[in-house]
């Protein structure tokens, strides 16, 4: 539900980073915030628990400049990944325009990834949105952990588990090191803008 | 804001402090909640008005003012306060969302002053009148604002017929006009009597 302000020639769209708990969604936003601080006029908003886990959402407004004569502002959100926070997770999805699914590459988290994606599908359905139709990018995060000898899922396995039907663009990433964080963001913005472009004249 | 007099009196100044601290309730001695009776009920209604303004609440306010008029029928200054309150209350009830924002402020300020005047023991009539006069002046200012606003609207509606300066009297709700006249008359009389008393 992007808002296109024809008067101010401004587009506001909502991109949500989804995925299992401790998968690196907030770390994605933190990296973006650090890297583009000069273009982000405000502080990043984070509603966290004592244990530094996202309770409600993180929020980062991001000006990406002018596209087709419109000043475009992407509102980046993360959802709380923990299973018990589904009520708030669902609220954050309201009016979403594009989704980055941040999967955890650790072998241990294989099932959690699958469950989280299933949960995304259900929560979107509550808003009459379809995961197969909404702009979506897969990010296989924590690829750097392989160097430390932590067993990781292969990209093929991740693709098979998560992206076989959806067949959307994917990135191998390390949010902590910033690897492919920006590429993921660029891709989701471009897909989101493409889906909005029918409304931009 | 207030009409200063050269011989300001500390006690009155202290009362004015209360008066202008509109959101603060008065100290324990002045707290109507500790007093039984109709003033406490009036305070309760004012707290309700703070939250919500609708016909039920405004009718309750007007009924309570009536009840207080009986209680204070022998107290001229209190009667004038109550008439002021009634006039503004009726105006707000009639106008609702279209009321001038200052009318809501005035309603609260008249109430605060009424509370001070009615609960402060040992306040002289002159001090009470001084507080009353502040509210009457505010009332007058609101009246002027309403008249000006109406004149501007009229001028805008009828650009040919320009009527600057004096504002036509029918712009003030009849209830307000009547009470204002009464209040001014009584204050004039009271002050005349007070002066005469002072001279003799």
């Amino acid at each position: 539900m992007a808002f296109i302000n024809l008067k101010k020639k401004e587009v506001q769209a909502k991109i949500v980073y989804y995925g299992p708990g401790r998968g690196g969604k907030t770390t994605n936003l933190e990296f973006i915030y650090k890297k583009y601080k000069s273009r982000i006029p405000t502080d990043m908003v984070a509603i966290k628990t004592h244990g530094d886990r996202t309770l409600f959402f993180d929020f980062l407004p991001f000006d990406i400049g002018t596209i087709k004569g419109y000043s475009v502002r992407m509102q980046l959100y993360t959802v709380p990944g923990q299973v018990k926070y589904n009520a708030t997770r669902k609220l954050v999805l309201r009016g979403v325009d594009g989704i980055v699914f941040v999967a955890d590459s650790m072998q241990l988290r294989r099932e959690k990834n699958v469950l989280s994606l299933k949960n995304a599908r259900e929560n979107l359905a509550a808003y009459k949105k379809d995961l197969t139709k909404i702009p979506l990018v897969m990010q296989y995060n924590k690829r750097d952990l392989g160097e430390q000898g932590i067993p990781l899922l292969s990209v093929e396995t991740l693709q098979q588990d998560l992206n076989a039907d959806l067949n959307v663009p994917f990135f191998e990433a390390s949010a902590l090191e910033g690897k492919n964080v920006v590429e993921t963001l660029k891709k989701i913005i471009s897909l989101t803008m493409a889906s909005l472009s029918k409304d931009l004249t | 804001m207030d009409a200063d007099r050269p011989s300001s009196n500390k006690e009155v100044d202290d009362q004015l402090e209360y008066l202008f601290a509109e959101t603060q309730s008065a100290d324990a001695g002045l707290d109507p909640e500790s007093q039984p009776g109709p003033l406490r009920d009036l305070k309760a209604i004012f707290l309700a008005v703070d939250w919500e303004i609708n016909d039920d609440i405004m009718n309750a306010l007007l009924r309570q003012i009536d009840a207080l008029k009986n209680t204070f029928s022998g107290d001229r200054i209190m009667m004038l306060f109550l008439q002021l309150l009634e006039a503004v209350g009726k105006y707000v009830k009639g106008k609702k969302a279209h009321a001038h924002p200052d009318a809501i402020k005035l309603l609260n300020s008249i109430y605060t002053s009424l509370e001070i005047v009615s609960l402060s023991k040992g306040m002289t009539d002159a001090e009470r009148k001084k507080i009353l006069r502040i509210e009457v002046n505010r009332f007058q200012r609101l009246k002027d604002k309403l008249a000006r606003k109406k004149a501007v609207e009229k001028a805008a509606a009828l650009p040919k017929k320009d009527a600057p300066g004096e504002s036509p009297p029918e712009e003030i709700p009849p209830a307000l006009r009547y009470v204002l006249q009464e209040v001014r008359k009584v204050i004039r009389e009271e002050f005349a009597a007070f002066k005469a008393e002072f001279k003799s």
Binding site: F3, L6, Q12, G95 | D50, A97, K105
Partner: protein, 131 residues
């Protein structure tokens, strides 16, 4: 869920925010959608809030409170109000999809503000229905 507002609608909304809220002494007023996007916003020139973050949090907060209302068997709570030392916040739903947020000081009566909000919502509904 999808909507667009044309220039005329946006102008009318802004005019109401100005005449019904800023002129009565409200510090800042925002119309947002339930996703947290800002439709229109005005302030009195004396305050400067991070309105984008405010909008995101307000939408989330409103959603959370609505969910709580449902849990206790209420359709929705009619008064959403946060009182502060100097600034107060009031939220009100406008049609199903929008939210009006007013930020005001202690010089403004909540009772009166609520009247103004109810009145303005009727006007907004007329404007929004024409889309």
């Amino acid at each position: 869920m999808e909507y667009t507002l044309d220039q005329k609608q946006l102008d009318e909304i802004e005019a109401i925010l100005q005449s019904d809220f800023i002129e009565m002494g409200v510090h800042c007023v925002l119309m947002i959608d339930m996703a947290g996007n800002i439709i229109s916003s005005l302030d009195n020139g004396e305050v400067s809030f991070d309105i984008y973050s405010l909008a995101a949090l307000a939408a989330g907060n409103f959603g959370a409170v609505s969910a709580m209302a449902n849990m206790v068997g209420e359709n929705e709570f009619s008064l959403l109000f946060h009182k502060g030392q100097d600034e107060n916040l009031h939220f009100s739903r406008v049609t199903g999809e929008f939210l009006l947020i007013t930020i005001f000081g202690k010089e403004t009566s909540l009772g009166f503000l609520r009247l103004k909000v109810a009145e303005a919502i009727k006007k907004f509904e007329t404007i929004l229905q024409s889309s």
